[in-house]
Amino acid sequence: MTRDAIEFFRDRYGITPEDVDRLLGVALARGGEFADLYFEHTISGSVQLEEQIVKSATRSVRQGVGVRVVAGEKTGFAYTDRIEVASIERAARTASSVAHSVSSAEAIRVTPAGPGLDLYPVDDAATDAAVVEKVAMLHEADAAARAVDRRIREVQAIVADEFKVVMIATSEGVLAGDVQPLARFGVNCIADDDGNRQVGRAGGGGRRGLEFFEGDESPGAFGAEAARQAIAQIEAVEAPSGTMEVVLGSGWPGILLHEAVGHGLEADFNRKGTSVFSGLVGSRVASDLCTVVDDGTIPGRRGSLNVDDEGHVTTSTVLIEKGILRGYINDRLNAGLLGVERTGNGRRESYQCIPYPRMTNTFMLAGEEDPGEIVRGVKRGLFAVQFGGGQVDITNGKFVFSASEAYLIEDGKITAPVRGATLIGNGPDVLTKVTAVGSDLALDRGIGTCSKNGQGIPVGVGLPTIRISEMTVGGTKG
């Protein structure tokens, strides 16, 4: 991967390893102990269908270089959308302005990284596929959704893809590169039952080409799933309100982990002492049934990376082991300041952004219980299987996530579907209330995007079926 990326930037823009060495030297000329250059070239495209016609197609190219200089806890950053030595040199001078004569270091000459991970080999990138092929996928989804029920009135479908080539050079001598494909298919349906309008959504994707969208992950399967959810909501009753037992289904409900503990375990917040998890390494933050990992090395997944956006090899990090907090996810800056090992979680949205510690694929390991038994053990509660987005206040630990498909559990049986409702909890103690973990770990379908400091990046989540003894459900029925 590294070799391909180095060749790409050399052939297309004439940037050589010698140029990179010189530019890193400029970046550190006024002081600072670390500098890096992040080169990016991204082609992205989308084709959208609505009202049964393909209304638009887009294609865009983003290219540029971000230059960062680090001096202690200070970061200077500048970027340019022109990949040429003179422009990058100006950016390097600008970025160096924060570093006036603090500690300083000499840039070590860069050496190309050897072959590392190869999690998403690219044969046929989705960005290169013929538009007619994408158009056919969109029509397949539309037809499948409408075939579910004649009350499906509107179907929107999109196929979106990205092909990103990056090269990262650091003053510590690293020269790494990666070629990162990404594809996503999404369907949004509206059902209309005599004015009772309801929405259903489905989709999936990963760091794959269009060959990914087959079988359970075919456009037709996503179309039918979105339609099924919209139709199911027509009969939904008011969601309950108050504190109750909650069972989360496998897969996408793993967004619980992302919000409740994931963000709170990002090292920048913990170094600054602004996270509710600050200083809790070694403490119990979950029941002993819970082991939570962040793993950027799962082949083909949306949240996976061969190297992070600081050129460090991605890893799998145990965040919580049998209920005990083991560590944080970090980037170079925070690992250095905290004096811990890097975990390869330094990520950024684009060359215009500073990297921060970010999640990759965050999930709970499977337990031993039968998922059906977990539900049967609940007298009165909520069974939530699909969620929209979530959010967290990392300082007081309060987090929410919104169920878009959920059912009542009455006497151990799944009964009526309920309207959308937000669930709210407290990060450091919600997992201490996990009383059962199923054997059915599933990762989500690959459509998640995480937002932090204004930067959106692709991530994954996963969960086996779990039971939480109490959570607050924000419905309207008392």
Binding site: K55, S56, T422
Partner: protein, 448 residues
């Protein structure tokens, strides 16, 4: 600056020569400066220029759009060919054509969107303002022990639009913002909140001291927060939170949702959709407004539109496409990024102020919940379901009793809007959308 109307019009002409039936070019250029400070030191300092151009072409009713930040002649040539090839692969959609030639904006008013004082600010002056806000916050109370990333930022930008009706326009704008995000500690409880301001001109910006002090007070008042028992109560939304509700009202009135019938307001134009206390206005031409533009993203004149007047839904907000779908003219609300067709965007959108002050509204509540923070995305404008995480202050007999957290507020938008009992006089713009304090008769608060 690398972009101007000549570059944009030249690219439009090139598209027409290569066989497009219509073309539109939008270009944006920005110089960004931002500094984040924490505990008296710079944490990050960013400075950069960026530029990008988007091209939308139509070929016999089929459209596609492409973008680039590389303006070399060869790149532009292949961009045009790529756009035309892509367009030929899409479907015929007559509504996607450019606006009528006769409707293009004929003059470009000066809305005072550019402040040379912002462009001239020195980095040291910016850093100084960010540090002053932090110091002011810390000086309020010793329980302010820490800070999240607060800071200062400016953007100096230019927008250029040209199309094959011969329209070509450009305007420059500036934006300045300052925020403080203190953390307060008491025992083992830690709370964070913020305050900020954002303006087009330096002289309009709230002082760093005022921003820091307000941020500190907002944070301190959250200490000692607890959960309340599940109940139905009167809910008061403070201005920042009422503005969030206004954002939802915008989604429900936007042509994008209306023509898809993806809003509870579809088919309800001319009907009462809210209490008579609610009036919502969009005005794209307020001097120095963050939502002001001399022309919209299709080159139509921006204007003032009454959206809801005394509870009656008067108008949807439309661009050319959604207007055609609904058989109505555009309201000059086309909004677009660099790539893709225009969607609908607000100008300066606000809830018309009432007569009661914020304190009078709080005092009028016997038992209720003053919401000061909402988290999560539990709003469905298709069916009106509303369920959000909330924090704020409990109200007993018209007085603030104690802070509340880890609860949700839930209801249905239809009942919430009908249940608006009072609208405050405290309307203040701090961005494109603005709302005063609002009192809603009843919502479900879920807690213990």
């Amino acid at each position: 600056m690398r972009i101007d109307t000549q570059l944009a019009s030249g690219l439009v002409d090139r598209c027409m020569k290569r066989g497009a039936s219509a073309a539109e070019v939008v270009a944006r250029e920005e110089t960004e400066f931002s500094v984040q400070v924490r505990l008296g030191e710079i944490e990050t300092l960013t400075e950069a220029d960026s530029s990008a151009l988007g091209l939308r072409v139509l070929v016999d009713g089929r459209q596609a759009s492409v973008s680039t930040s590389d303006y070399a002649d060869a790149t532009l040539e292949s961009l045009v060919n790529e756009a035309l090839a892509l367009a030929r692969a899409t479907s015929v959609d007559p509504s996607s054509d450019l606006p009528e030639a006769a409707s293009m904006a004929s003059e470009i008013p000066d809305l005072d969107l550019y402040d040379p004082a912002i462009a001239a600010l020195s980095p040291d002056a910016c850093i100084d303002m960010a540090l002053r806000a932090e110091v002011a916050a810390r000086d309020v109370d010793p329980r302010i022990t820490n800070f999240d990333r607060g800071g200062f930022g400016t953007v100096v930008g230019r927008t250029v639009l040209a199309n094959s009706h011969g329209f070509a326009g450009a305007y420059d704008s500036t934006r300045i913002s300052l925020s403080a995000i203190p953390v307060a500690t008491d025992g083992d409880q830690m709370q964070r909140d913020y305050w900020y301001d954002t303006r087009r001109s330096l002289a309009d910006l709230e002082t760093p001291e005022s921003i820091g002090q307000t941020a500190a007070r907002r944070t301190l008042r959250r200490l000692g927060a607890r959960k309340v028992a599940t109940c139905e109560v009167t809910v008061v939304l403070e201005p920042l939170i009422a503005r969030d509700l206004l954002g939802t009202i915008f989604s429900a009135c936007s042509g994008d949702s209306v023509y898809r019938k993806a809003t509870l307001f579809a088919d309800r134009r001319g009907e009462r959709v809210a209490s008579p206390a609610l009036t919502v206005v969009d005005d794209g031409r307020v001097a120095r407004g963050l939502g002001s533009r001399p022309f919209d993203s299709e080159g139509l004149a921006t204007r003032r539109t009454d959206v809801i007047r005394d509870g009656v839904l008067e108008n949807f907000l439309l661009n050319t496409y959604t207007g055609r779908k609904l058989g109505m003219p555009s309201t000059g609300n086309a909004s677009r990024g660099i790539v893709g067709a225009a969607s609908v965007g607000a100008g300066n959108l606000y809830i018309g102020p009432g007569v009661q002050s914020h304190d009078e509204i709080v005092r009028s509540v016997k038992r209720g919940f003053l919401v000061t923070e909402l988290i999560g995305f539990g709003v469905n404008v298709v069916n009106g379901d509303y369920s959000r995480g909330a924090a704020g202050m409990w109200i007993e007999n018209g007085e603030i009793a104690y802070p509340v957290e880890e609860v949700t507020i839930a209801g249905n938008l239809k009942q919430m809007l009908e249940g608006i009992e009072a609208v405050g006089s405290d309307l203040e713009f701090r961005g494109k959308l603005a709302a005063p304090t609002i009192r809603i008769a009843s919502m479900t608060v879920s807690g213990r």
